[in-house]
């Protein structure tokens, strides 16, 4: 665990260094007239913009730690958003609509889990299929429409702030302090050894997928809270961002390693980079170039660390 603490502090340092350098760079870009990056509204904005990203990444972290991967979270989020919007349009109360969205998304997660675990099909393939199915279902159910159901309630406005905090906290507690969480690490680290030591490997794996589905549903709720809409177009490419953030945060892509706080820092690092690059007025492709480089370097460092440990 000391190694984890050191890794987290290292990520924190990286985040602070990147933020400091971006603060200076964006100020220079304005000819030193302003300091656009460090304004409190901008920082609050970064947190607000990270909300769905963060929630998805926490769920993804659990799945990756358990040895799987979920490519369908963006599409499941779309399906969830459509369910929420349709429920609201049909007159449901907000809590009921949220339950519909999160419930539907969790079902998708369960399907992912059951099919890949019991069917012994790599989760990459199964969730790839779900990625297509969920989005198509979202299109069909909504009739291709984007559905708008606004809300004036202050409680709803606060969801993009509260939900991510709750999810991060719960994710941390589950992974760090519950048998379920420890089981996930064991399964991801060495599934055979886990099975031999009596852990219910299948249930653990399926559980991780179900939770990931649920977080996709929560992300849909946050999207609705921010935009009032649900559509089949929501969450495009969101899965790739979630995976990237988890990996930058120290989650090993082969399983067995990772930490929710690391993922949080990974999300913040990517959001900070994105925000800084937008303020810098870098065109979108160049933004993606930079973020792509950061991801590859992060994974490279992760591999170096892993190799270093097995040799010592």
């Amino acid at each position: 665990m000391r190694d984890t603490a050191r890794q987290l502090m290292a990520l924190c340092a990286a985040l602070l260094v990147v933020s400091a350098l971006l603060a200076v760079a964006t100020a220079w870009h304005t000819g030193w007239e302003r300091w656009p990056f460090i304004g409190p509204e901008n920082l609050a904005g970064i947190l607000r913009q990270s909300a769905t990203f963060l929630v998805l990444s926490v769920g993804m972290t659990l799945v990756i730690i358990s040895g799987g991967i979920d490519l369908s979270v963006g599409s499941v989020m779309a399906l969830g958003s459509v369910l929420v919007a349709l429920a609201l349009r049909g007159g449901a109360s907000v809590p009921l609509a949220v339950a519909a969205g999160v419930g539907g998304a969790t079902v998708c997660g369960l399907v992912n889990g059951v099919v890949s675990v019991k069917g012994r099909i790599p989760s990459f393939i199964v969730t790839l299929g779900m990625m297509l199915v969920a989005r198509a279902l979202a299109f069909v159910i909504a009739g291709g429409e984007t559905i708008y159901v606004g809300s004036e309630s202050a409680a709803v406005r606060s969801l993009p702030l509260i939900l991510p905090a709750v999810v991060v906290l719960l994710g941390w507690v589950v992974l760090d302090r519950t048998r379920f969480g420890r089981g996930l690490y064991a399964v991801g680290g060495n599934a055979e050894a886990a099975r031999l030591s009596g852990l219910r490997v299948d249930a653990l794996r399926i559980g991780a997928f179900a939770i990931c589905g649920a977080t996709a549903g929560l992300a849909a709720v946050i999207h609705w809270a921010r935009s009032g809409t649900g559509s089949n177009l929501t969450g495009a490419n969101a899965e790739l961002d979630a995976i990237a953030a988890a990996v930058i945060g120290g989650t090993s892509i082969v399983g067995g390693e990772g930490h929710v706080l690391g993922t949080l820092l990974g999300v913040l690092l990517m959001s900070v980079l994105r925000n800084g690059l937008v303020l810098f007025e870098l065109s979108d492709e160049l933004q993606r170039l930079v973020i792509g480089i950061v991801i590859v370097v992060a994974v490279f460092i992760d591999r170096l660390r892993a190799r270093g440990r097995t040799h010592s």
Binding site: R6, M9, A10, L11, A13, A14, L15, V17, V18, L21, L22, A25, P36, G39, E41, N42, A44, G45, R48, Q49, T52, G144, T146, I147, Y148, G150, H223, R226, S227, G228, T229, S231, L233, T234, G235, A236, N237, L273, R274, N275, G276, L277, V278, L279, E281, L282, S283, D284, E285, L286, R288, L289, V290, I293, V294, V297, A298, I301, L304, R305
Partner: protein, 345 residues
């Protein structure tokens, strides 16, 4: 600790190199950016323009105007940006131009709107990726005192009304009329009879639906024209190619094709060539991108619709500044549409 700092430094080095190379040149007409191709060789401002009617020629202060567009990979928006930059430099204001990854990244656009609000810009000009989900983020911008102007793709009027968003103005093209002009052109080239197909834009998006309506209207006016196939290829080249290949197999009698944007037309033309049907199917596109102009000159594309995005960008900026200067502005400015054929190039 060392590794993480190394990571941070690499990231910043990447940013520095990339940003330094693409340093935004001060906006002035005639400059071509070093990065990001697809910028047309000339900007046509000499057309009889439907101007916003603004009398402002120079801004009283350096307003900060954000131009938030859709996909950078679509040359349409590169042209729009050039037009907007021209107006910005003429008026003496600061333009912050932003694009997104692909036509459907409304989340990304929402985040950019949010960033611009944090940056307290004076006005936001936006071509929304989603006509409904951008309304509430824009409402937040309006509540923060930012003027909101809708460009190109319309925000959904019902959603705008329900949310209580007060748009300062709309600057765009009549997409339905554009679809109709394209349809008329195609029907005329077919001599008023034959089987035609359509590759639609992204379903549910306002300008896609408008172009579809216009095309169908034009076809209805010709009794002997039959629309045998219509499907969406999501504005995408590869999807356009695959979809039309499938359409040709299912309906070998197709003689004409309307594509709601030139990207899909380029794909369809490739599919036609692959199938060995070059010359037997008449294709009309929309957007007048460079690839389409080449195709029109070659003869593989019978025509495309020019929407003058440069003029859209130009007038949108002028409208914004006029409004900020306290002038009453026109609520709708429509740029003229043109059917581009070989003789016009």
């Amino acid at each position: 600790m060392r590794h993480a700092l190394f990571l941070a430094l690499i990231a910043l080095a990447a940013v520095a190199v990339v940003a330094g190379c693409s340093r935004k040149t001060p906006p002035s007409s005639g400059t071509t950016p070093k990065f990001g191709g697809g910028v047309p060789k000339d900007l046509r401002f000499d057309i009889p323009s439907a101007e916003s009617g603004s009398a402002v020629t120079k801004a009283s202060k350096a307003y900060r105007v954000a131009l938030i567009m859709k996909a950078a990979s679509n040359p349409f928006f590169a042209t729009m940006q050039k037009g907007a930059e021209k107006a910005a430099s003429e008026l003496g204001i600061e333009l912050l131009a932003q694009t997104i990854t692909d036509e459907s990244s409304d989340q990304q656009q929402m985040d950019i709107v949010d960033s611009m609000v944090s940056q307290k810009v004076d006005a936001i000009l936006i071509a929304p990726a989603n006509s409904k989900s951008l309304v509430e983020p824009l409402l937040a911008a309006q509540k923060a005192g930012i003027a909101v102007i809708n460009v190109d793709n319309r925000l959904d009027p019902d959603t705008v009304k329900t949310a209580g968003l007060n748009l300062v103005a709309y600057v765009g093209a009549d997409n339905e009329e554009g679809g109709r002009l394209a349809g008329e052109h195609l029907c005329k080239l077919l001599g008023g009879k034959g089987s035609v197909a359509m590759l639609e834009g992204r379903r549910g998006v306002d300008n896609a639906e408008a172009r579809k309506r216009g095309f169908l209207k034009a076809c209805e006016a010709h009794r002997d024209i039959k629309v045998v196939a219509s499907d969406s290829a999501d504005w995408d080249i590869a999807k356009g190619q695959n979809k039309f290949a499938a359409m040709m197999s299912a309906h070998p009698e197709i003689q004409g094709l309307f594509c709601a944007n030139d990207n899909m037309a380029v794909g369809a033309i490739a599919a036609i060539k692959e199938k060995g049907k070059a010359g037997s199917i008449i294709v009309v596109g929309y957007d007048n991108i460079e690839a389409a102009q080449t195709a029109v000159k070659e003869g593989t594309l019978a025509g495309t619709i020019e929407q003058h995005p440069d003029l859209m960008g130009f007038e949108a900026v002028k409208t914004a500044v006029a409004h900020l200067e306290g002038e009453q502005v026109r609520s709708e400015t429509m740029v003229p549409l043109e059917v581009i054929t070989k003789d016009k190039l």
